[in-house]
């Protein structure tokens, strides 16, 4: 029996749609279950019939993952949407995986909370997708990585059982932290159905301080001085301006207004004169930085090796007649690069790989090749949780 007919037997028509070819995938049947049990039904059917499923959240970061070799159907979590529990007095949020980040933000903002990560396109990105891809936010410096804010989850395994790990509590060590394993697993181990997150107080106000330097080294040196600021900024960014316009240092502060005033004064004294950006452009820049996920190359390294990494990438690009433009997050030693000729990056990727950089390079569409030792353990984990290979990878 063909897949569509079989799906038609199991699922009501409102849960069945069609996936139009994108992200390197062909046209496929798409199932958008409305509840956990339905997710489980699909997984059981897939295990029985030997289908390979692609799990899709909002699709906002999907393009970053490698295209699977084979896929028979798409499991969309868009139908699994809604807030299960927002506990403003406890500072936690539990929601179904398909809920968009925008909807969640709206919910928690009303209670004075901030939900991290603050991602690109929150109206598209879903909680489950954000967690599965471990996309960290623009404000990671202050609030940490996604995996650090996930308190627990419910996950549907390939055998159709929906299991829980962790809980809705800010502190809990009961059982293994399986949720840490699913976080960042890109839908290859199980289907995240529901996630509980730790919330933070919504900062009263934000402020952006900027300065332009002719040389990147100078901008990075100034950024380093700002690390000493005793309160944690939302983000510190150093970006290359277009057409040799210099290098822009941006420091995003958030908090009570008297704290902002104090921090601004501190920075002006220690780092030098910084301009306070108007509110409008603060919002705009925040949006731009947040949206940086689309850059073809992301990398991270030890903070002390940032300059070296940037120089290596620049040199390799230059050798191939490419011009690289960087956006750096020096406090976390991560960054992205865009290139003048985006069509022809494969050669560059090969050349860069050959330099054995002291950094992790993540090219769009390729899952980083883990080193052999850990890779074997990862493979074992995958086999244990998905022995028949229901999840396409």
């Amino acid at each position: 029996m063909n897949i569509e007919a079989r799906l038609g037997e199991i699922f009501p028509s409102e849960e069945l749609q069609h996936f139009r070819a994108r992200f390197g995938l062909p046209d496929l049947p798409l199932v958008a279950p409305r509840c956990e049990e339905r997710v489980a039904d699909l997984l059981k059917a897939a295990a029985q019939d030997g289908w390979k499923l692609v799990v899709l959240g909002g699709g906002s970061t999907f393009s970053r993952s490698p295209s699977p070799a084979r896929a028979d159907a798409v499991l969309s979590l868009a139908g699994l949407s809604g807030v299960t529990a927002y506990e403003p007095r406890d500072g936690t949020l539990t929601a179904l995986a398909g809920t968009t980040m925008a909807q969640l933000e709206e919910t928690v903002h009303a209670g004075g909370h901030h939900l991290s990560p603050e991602v690109a396109r929150p109206e598209v990105a879903t909680l489950g997708g954000v967690v599965a891809s471990a996309s960290s936010g623009f404000e990671r410096l202050r609030f940490g990585a996604v995996r650090e804010n996930v308190l627990g989850m419910r996950v549907a395994l390939c055998n159709g059982s929906v299991v829980k790990s962790g809980g809705r509590l800010v502190k809990n060590v009961t059982g293994y932290d399986l949720h840490r394993l699913f976080c960042g697993s890109n839908g290859t181990l199980g289907v995240i159905c529901e996630v509980s997150m730790r919330l933070y107080p919504l900062p009263e106000a934000t402020r952006l301080l900027t300065s332009v330097y002719p040389r990147r080294e100078a901008a990075l040196a100034k950024a380093r001085e700002s690390f000493e600021l005793p309160i944690s900024p939302l983000a510190i960014a150093v970006s290359d301006l277009a057409d040799g316009g210099g290098h822009l240092l941006e420091i995003f502060l958030a908090g009570r207004s008297e704290v902002l005033a104090w921090a601004t004064e501190w920075l002006n004294e220690r780092v030098g004169d910084l301009n306070t950006a108007p509110a409008e452009s603060t919002r705009e820049r925040r949006h731009i930085l947040r949206d940086d996920v689309r850059a073809p190359l992301r990398f991270h390294c030890r903070p002390s090796r940032l300059e070296e990494t940037v120089a290596t990438i620049e040199r390799c690009a230059e050798a191939q007649g490419q011009e690289a433009r960087f956006l750096l997050n020096p406090a976390l030693a991560e960054g992205t690069a865009r290139f003048s000729n985006p069509a022809n990056l494969e050669q560059l990727a090969v050349a860069l790989g050959g330099t054995r950089p002291a950094a992790t390079l993540l090219w769009t569409g390729t899952f980083p090749a883990p080193t052999p030792g850990p890779g074997r353990w990862m493979e074992k984990l995958r086999t244990a949780l998905d022995p028949t290979g229901v999840f396409a990878s």
Binding site: G167, K171, G184, P230, P374, W377
Partner: protein, 477 residues
Amino acid sequence: MHRLAQELRSILGPRGLIDDPTKLLPYESDGLAMVAVPAELVCLPRDTQEAAACLALLHREGVPVVARGAGTGLAGGATPVANGVVVSTARMRDILEVNPLDRFARVQAGVVNVDLTRAASRHGLRYAPDPSSQMACTIGGNVANNSGGPHCFKHGATTRHIQGLVIVAHDGEILDLSEPHLDPVGYDLVGLFVGSEGTFGLATEVTVKLVPTPALDEVLLAVFSTLDDACDCVSEIIASRLEPSALEILDKLTIEAVEASVFAAGYPVGAEAVLLMEVEGAGPEVEGTSRAIRKIVDRHSPLDVRSARNAEERRKLWAGRKGAFGAMGRIAPDLYVADAVVPRSRLRELIRTTIAICHERNLRLANVFHAGDGNLHPNICYDRRNEEEVARVLEAGHLILKACVEAGGALTGEHGVGLEKLEQMDLLFAPHDLDAMCRVRDVWDPERRMNPGKLVPLRACMELRTTRLEHKPEGIA
């Protein structure tokens, strides 16, 4: 065992193996003194290589292995298992690297928490997680239990501070994940390993994140005439989204025990409850938060609120809190400590329930807990020689955990499941939840020799085995 001892000694050297029955005796319990199981042998490797050679040999011989740090855990995670060997990290106490530039440190698993903090402090940095036993417990033990501590309220538990590990697997394979990465490359093996209570393997080296020492910290002490007021005050601080770095409650009995000890901190004896609070950060941030907190405290009819005047006073107030568990040795021969977590909006209710449960059973109870995290520590006093009392204590412990789970809580916030809370895992997890845990455990330790019988109830794992067997014929067919 004799031949095994000889082979182990040839790997570990004459001082690296303990096989004298007398000298093995102190290993029969960890901080959970209620349970004692004799260890057959204790290995004391000095580094990863020795540990790996040791585990490879034990793998060949099919001997169960229990990892042990300082043996300060309160859930029996380091209690030996029958016919098993203990691998202690007590001789692995080198700080391998402190890197102030990249803000991490690499240490051997047996390094004591406070020694790491001391080494980091020379660079104006610190290792944030500070379990109350920090002056004795090891980083390896902290990794195994994903330990907490008062400051985890702001900084998060151990897992948030572990950037890398060197793991020796059940068969002696060395898995080097020590390079500090911003994000894991591939699956988060390190994050999964932290909190696995020695059932996945042995962590021999740990890469930890170091954070700057705060420019300013203020310690406030509020005194209340009822425990309810203290709980409500904490709930309101949380609900108001304030971010102090620690919120700790001590009740009357605890205060008395601490004040009678070497850690006397100046807590007011006779008060029903004190709330110890710390705010850290910089200038106006600390001032603003303290001001807001004081306003909330004032609404809960405190008898007194004061701020520590200097570093020495701050140190004493904290030393008193951290010595509280041990100090209770003064009020009872033995103590049973529960470690339940509850939603922070329901502190008062569950503390009351806890008190009622103990009162009904005529048991003395001292409460000292990480209120800001909702992590309760009811300390029930008993004498282990009184069997009938022990039974009442266990019953009370069970009922407390049950009440907490029913209120949306969990069994353990920082001590781990170990042996002690094994029975209660069913309260929180369904068989298929435990089944998934067993699957992952089997990846790391297919023979189930690593700390067997801890953390996941054996029953659940047995069920998994049977279901597998049932499936097998189908697979073949």
